[in-house]
């Protein structure tokens, strides 16, 4: 089944009684986990819709990442818990107090040996994925760290902040534990002098499958449109500013293994998914190269999107939504969307129907951080 | 004697002049002929009706005599010795400030002091009332009284200040009666090309019904009903919650309408909406239609559905009801029959001249705060009504009284006299605007500029110079040259927006402003024609002292003061002379004698 972003449609929806802030498929693609405005990690078996809860956090779970047989969940108090998914119901492998204050983002390295966390305290920290032992601390950000992601080569890491008026993306060299570059993301600043508040800043960051391009997302200027910036990873220079027509913030951006960009965000009543094809090399078969800013597709979601995760098969995404009264949403949902024209709901497990080559799949799997 | 006021024709002439619309001389002559005819008719009409004349009813005693009688009654029994009458110098400065808002220029002062005709004071009063400066001053006074320096929350959602001041100035230039002025202010919805600017009263308050209710009561009826919003006022037995909401019902259907295309801000009004209220003290409820205090409820007429709106409310549309309660307010309030309407204005005009009202504070008339001279207040109200609310006429009578013309020097051996006896002239603060303009006048800068503007007009328009020179429009434009400077100085001395002027309360930041800002240094630069320039050129220090005192204090110096000047300048090296003169001038400009109206 060809991936056609413009045909993206909702295939399943799991509802919840509180807004959901983040989500992750497990690596088998059978389950989706989510955290939201309560203390539990929620789990849905996709095929059956069966819902279970994992209770170990003391406050809202706002970031998740999964890798083979494992799931990491992080909360507002700075606690990160690693769960084993190997046998039946998840079991806690380790628990750490990773940061002072909210952990905004978690990521896992391509070789699954390291977990990276970024938090309110402005630090990026690396932990052993097996044991939770601290491995390194990367300091330099001057504000809350909102996105961490490993480079596909496994030797570098990118993290992003919301520093007032001059948010940055930092590239770190893991071996020397040093900062390699600081990218100027001021195009994502939405500073408002009247309130001395930075409403913008970088919300998420992602590497392209070949590692040559870095994307970061947010909104450009106060009350402006959701925006993605692209940087050349070698030169550190900004190469593209993709401004959507959606007046909102993109909370999440990632590259599909096929090379196109996905970004999602939400505003008062609505949520949208935007797809761009930013590089010539990664042409969609049969699709032309997109002009500047021209998206491949933009899709209306059932509600504001706080986060999304790509299914291991690259064909579906899970979006974490807030639902309910538009002014005071008091519910949440996970929306499973299919990135193709398929209507067959039962094929979420299969990988063979998509035209993704094996290398890309591995990269995609590693990239799902 | 009715002055030749040419308001509408002023404007026409002005447009001709500014717009260069002289087509040909016969065209002009034809139009000018019309204007002259209108002017003569006007003269005739006002002369016949005697508007501006006190002697309407010729067997009545002049009001100013009656005022003095009332004030002086009881002094003998109380052994109260009043102050003597003010000297010419005291009177001169005081009446200039009270009727034109600026101290006299030095040459005017000298002329008056040297004039020995017995009727000079009465003549001066008439001249000042007739001057364009009177209109400019009263416009400023009324602006402050009615708006209390408020700024709309969205600053631009208002009538521009210049348009509002033009409206007021022209109203005073034509001596518009007070009731007519109030009618225009309260009736307008902002659309009328002539009276539209009066909407500033509503718009400065964001058309908020609570603010409007309180201020309509305070400023037009002399009662501050704000505490009666939630319950009958516990302090003042006459202030009832029903009174508050009776006024409220006139304005509760109003809202602000901003036209995005024309950028104008106007009043919109609904055709429905009733007013109910509950006392937080007693829990008792009430419902009311529009009703003025002491008056009857005004029912809404029964209108057919189609007639309820002239312009129905819709998004982006200014609704205009078939029956407007706002129009009712404009018509009902400014009438003799409305309780407090006449009392309020005569009390305020009295306060403007005499420094405090017969009722103090001006907006708190109630049973436990009676007037100091109740019969006098009633008399003033009655007379003002019979004069058809002629403000100039009343001010004239006030200025002619002995009461107004007392000295501020206490009688010998008097320690203090209670201010509500009006037996000695009070020491009052110059208003912020009076202070700013008087600084400009004292420094000579105002004269320099007016002279230049005058000469320019003479050379550009010799034919109509005489007429144009006296129009309020020409004068306003000439004085507005200093508008920004005056506003920035006045701002330092003004009270916070939304508050009445209140008693003299000098603050340290004002003193610092006079001492260390560049206001005085700039004013005292020795540019050609200014005071400092003139003083520098004076050879004798006696002459210098005289010019200095006439310019600053509007009087001649006494011997000691001349000696002080002489000593100060004695043996001063040439290069320090300007500085020494400036020291004298700035020291005196910062004195209490300059700061106060006395």
């Amino acid at each position: 089944m060809t991936i056609e972003p413009e045909k993206t449609h909702l295939v399943k929806e799991f509802s919840h009684d509180a807004p959901l802030l983040a989500c992750a498929f497990d690596r088998t693609g059978q389950f989706v986990f989510a955290g939201g405005r309560d203390r539990s990690v929620h789990c849905w078996e996709i095929a059956t819709g069966k819902k279970t809860a994992l209770d170990a956090h003391e406050t809202w779970v706002c970031a998740l990442v999964s890798w083979k047989d494992s799931l990491c969940t992080a909360d507002y108090s700075g606690r990160v818990i690693c769960w084993s998914l190997a046998n039946g119901p998840p079991e806690i492998k380790w628990t750490i107090e990773a940061h002072q204050g909210t952990v905004r983002s978690v990521a896992v390295s391509p070789d699954e040996s390291l977990v990276a966390t970024g938090g309110r305290d402005g630090k990026v920290r690396l932990w052993s994925a097996d044991s939770g032992q601290p491995v390194a601390e990367l300091s330099g950000h001057e504000d809350q760290v909102y996105g961490v992601v490993f480079h596909p080569d496994g030797r570098h890491l990118a993290s992003a902040d919301r520093h007032s008026q001059t948010p940055t993306v930092r590239i770190w060299e893991l071996e020397g534990q040093r900062e390699k570059a600081s990218l100027d993301a001021s195009d994502l600043s939405a500073y408002r002098r009247g309130e001395n508040v930075e409403w913008g800043g970088v919300r998420d960051v992602a590497f392209s499958p070949d590692g040559s391009t870095l994307a970061c997302c947010g909104r450009h200027k106060y009350a402006g449109q959701a925006t993605v910036l692209l940087f050349d990873n070698h030169t550190g220079k900004q190469t593209e500013k993709l401004v959507s027509t959606f007046k909102a913030i993109f909370h999440r951006v990632t590259f599909h293994s096929n090379g196109f960009l996905i970004a999602a965000g939400g505003d008062i009543k609505s949520g949208e998914l935007w797809f761009w094809n930013p590089t010539e090399q990664k042409l969609m078969p049969g699709k032309p190269v997109a002009a500047d800013n021209e998206p491949l597709a933009k899709i209306q979601l059932s509600g504001p999107a706080n986060f999304f995760d790509l299914h291991p098969d690259g064909r579906q995404i899970a979006v974490a939504h807030s639902t309910g009264k538009s002014t005071y949403p008091d519910g949440g949902a996970i929306g499973i969307y299919d990135l193709s024209a398929a209507t067959n709901e039962g094929s979420t497990n299969s990988s063979g129907n998509c035209s993704i080559n094996e290398t890309h799949r591995a990269v995609a799997a590693a990239q799902l951080a | 004697m009715a002055g030749l006021t040419l308001t509408k024709t002023d404007a026409q002439l002005w447009r001709y002049r500014k717009g260069n619309q002289f087509v040909n001389s016969s065209d002009v002559c034809r139009r000018f002929g019309l204007i002259t005819l209108t002017a003569c008719l006007w003269f005739y009409v006002t002369g016949v009706l005697g508007a501006g004349e006190e002697s309407v009813v010729r067997n009545e005693r002049p009001l100013h005599e009656l005022i003095d009688e009332h004030i002086e009654a009881g002094w003998k029994e109380d052994n109260l010795r009043p102050a003597v009458l003010a000297s010419d110098a005291e009177f001169l400065r005081r009446v200039f400030l009270d009727l034109t808002g600026i101290i006299p220029a030095a040459d005017i002062a000298r002329k008056f002091l040297d004039d020995d005709s017995p009727e000079k004071r009465a003549r001066l009063i008439d001249r000042l009332l007739d001057s364009p400066e009177y209109s400019l001053h009263m416009a400023r006074v009324m602006d402050v009284m009615l708006n209390e320096r408020r700024i709309a929350t969205i600053r631009s959602y208002n009538v521009p200040s210049s348009e509002w001041l033009d409206f007021l100035t022209s109203s005073f230039a034509e001596n518009k009666p007070w009731d007519q002025l109030v009618l225009e202010i309260l009736s307008t919805d902002g659309t009328d090309p002539v009276t539209g600017p009066a909407a500033r009263f509503y718009l400065s308050r964001d058309v908020k019904p609570d603010l409007l209710t309180r201020d309509v009561g305070r400023l037009f009826l002399g009662v501050d009903l704000q505490c009666a919003q939630c319950h009958d006022d516990p302090r003042y037995v006459d202030y009832k919650q029903a009174d508050y909401f009776g006024i409220y019902a006139f304005v509760s259907r109003l809202s602000l309408f901003h036209d995005k295309d024309t950028k104008q801000t106007l009043l919109a009004e609904k055709a429905e909406g009733n007013v109910t209220f509950t006392s937080v003290f007693t829990g008792s409820k009430g419902e009311t239609n529009p009703r003025l205090p002491g008056g009857v409820m005004i029912p809404d007429p029964d209108l057919e559905k189609e007639q309820q709106y002239k312009v129905a409310p819709a998004s982006g549309v200014r609704s205009v009801p078939g029956y407007s309660r706002r129009l009712q307010l404009g018509q009902q309030l400014p009438r003799r029959e409305t309780a407090g309407f006449s009392l309020n204005i005569v009390n305020r005009l009295w306060a403007q001249m005499l420094g405090r009202g017969l009722v103090e504070p001006l907006d708190l008339r109630h049973a436990k705060n009676p007037p100091s001279h109740p019969e006098l207040l009633s008399l003033l109200a009655q007379r003002f009504e019979s004069l058809d609310y002629n403000i100039k006429a009343l001010l004239r009578e006030l200025a002619l009284t002995r009461t107004y013309q007392r000295s501020s020097l206490l009688p010998e051996n008097a320690t203090t006299i209670s201010p509500n006896r009006f037996a000695v002239a009070p020491l009052r603060a110059l208003s912020p605007e009076q202070l700013a303009w008087s600084l400009l006048q004292a420094s000579g800068r105002l004269s320099v500029h007016l002279k230049e503007a005058d000469q320019r007009l003479k050379s550009e328009d010799p034919k109509y110079y005489d007429i144009l020179r006296r129009t309020w429009k020409w004068n306003k434009e000439a004085y507005d040259r200093f508008g920004r400077d005056v506003n920035s100085v006045a701002a330092v001395f003004a009270v916070m927006p939304g508050n009445p002027e209140g008693a003299f309360s000098p603050t340290v930041d004002q003193a610092l402003f006079l001492l260390n800002s560049d206001t005085l240094p700039v004013a005292l630069k020795p540019d050609a024609g200014t005071l400092i320039d003139g003083l520098v050129k004076e050879q004798s220090s006696d002459d210098l002292a005289e010019v200095m005192f006439l310019s600053i204090f509007s009087r001649r110096p006494d011997e000691k003061e001349i000696a002080e000047v002489r000593d100060h300048l004695h043996d001063v090296p040439a290069e320090m002379r300007v500085e020494a003169i400036r020291q004298l001038v700035s020291g005196k400009l910062m004195s209490a004698e300059f700061r106060l109206n006395h």
């Binding site: 203390r39 003391e58 406050t59 809202w60 706002c62 507002y76 108090s77 909210t102 809350q144 919301r162 002098r193 009247g194 001395n196 409403w199 505003d267 504001p304 005071y328 949403p329 008091d330 | 309180r214 704000q226 505490c227 302090r235 003042y236 504070p361 708190l364 436990k368 705060n369 501020s408 020097l409 009070p426 020491l427 009052r428 916070m496 508050n499 209140g502 008693a503 309360s505 000098p506 603050t507 340290v508 930041d509 004002q510 610092l512 001492l515 260390n516 800002s517 560049d518 000691k560 002080e564 100060h568 500085e579 400036r582 020291q583 004298l584 020291g587 910062m590 004195s591 209490a592 106060l596």
Partner: protein, 423 residues
Amino acid sequence: MKRLTACNQSEHVVSRRSILAGTIGALGAGVLGQPLLSEELHARRKRLLILFQSGGASQFETWDPKPGTKTGGPFRAISTSLPGVHIGELLPHTAGIMHRLAVVRSVNTRIADHFLGHYALQSGRRVPGYPVLGSAAARLLEQPGDVLPGYVSLRRDGPKAFTDIGDAGFLGPKYEAVKIINGQPPANLVRPAAISESTESARDAIRRRSDERFLSGRSARSIQAYGNSFDQAAVLMKRRDIFDLNKEPAADRERYGDHDFGRHCLLARRLLESGINCVKVVHHDWDAHEENFHWHQQRCSEFDGTFATLINDFADRGLLEDTLIVVTGEMGRTPRINNRAGRDHWGNAWSMAMAGCGIEQGVVYGKTNEDGTSVVDGEVDLGHLFHTWLTALGLDPTGHYDIGGGENQIGTPAASAIKELLA
């Protein structure tokens, strides 16, 4: 009709001589470098410090946490130096000094508007025209011989600052706050270069001579008031270093925090120690309609460190027992979280805190229900708070201002002080 009453307890009656020694009298003898305030005066004068959280801080994220509820937000509650009492985890330093504070959790003013809220919380009334707390206290605390302004307020300029309405009302311009905006000292405190010292003294002498002559035979009050304002100006020019934060040790500037609130609080300490009776510091931008949790993390971390430092400092320097410290915003924030992860305006069940002069230490007054949507115990309104503050300062809120034949009670007659909060 009662007179305006100021402190009239015996220990507050200071000899005129000692006042002069601390202020005008000392002028002649090398004022620069004089100690900020003599010890005797230190001990006797009551002072007021208002820390105003403009925009409205969320009580859920500060004084009255409700973790684990639908309304409580993500932050946990932490224990404090008061056993059994918890506050939000974003205020760890404040938690350590809870034993010095009195916190009220049961405020129900029903005001959800910035403008009215600023005015009402500071004046104790909804009806306009009354003086705000700083102006009222300046009037009621002033003593003969006071030359410095009675009330100074520190804030920034900028659009949102205009919601801070409320002034001295009918007390008049003398009791208006002297405004320090963006940390800049009041204007015109320095003699300009163009005016030499000899000119300054010459024209001052000329002014005085003129006033002396004018005074003779006339009512003195206005003339003297005007002359006094120049005397005060001279004092303030000589004492202008009280506005200079650089005169405070660098270590203190660091402890208070490198942000506006920190700097302004340190300047407030300096002003209070210099003889200013009432100071207000506005901490801006609490109005978190969007991303409430992110912004409270920022704002609380600014507030927390500075506030705890200030309280401890005041205690160490002997200022705490004579200075009433009031911490409030114009309202609280909604229990419900809106679609932009923010909280909106809320006046029905919120919190504030106070400490210092006349206030009982280590008190939590009032309760809200489980999800913070209403007050269940100890409900208080504007008037109660205003009465409490005045009483704590040793003033009588049932005294009157006399205006136009009517008695205007200083605190609204409908309320009285909250006894449990008073020491």
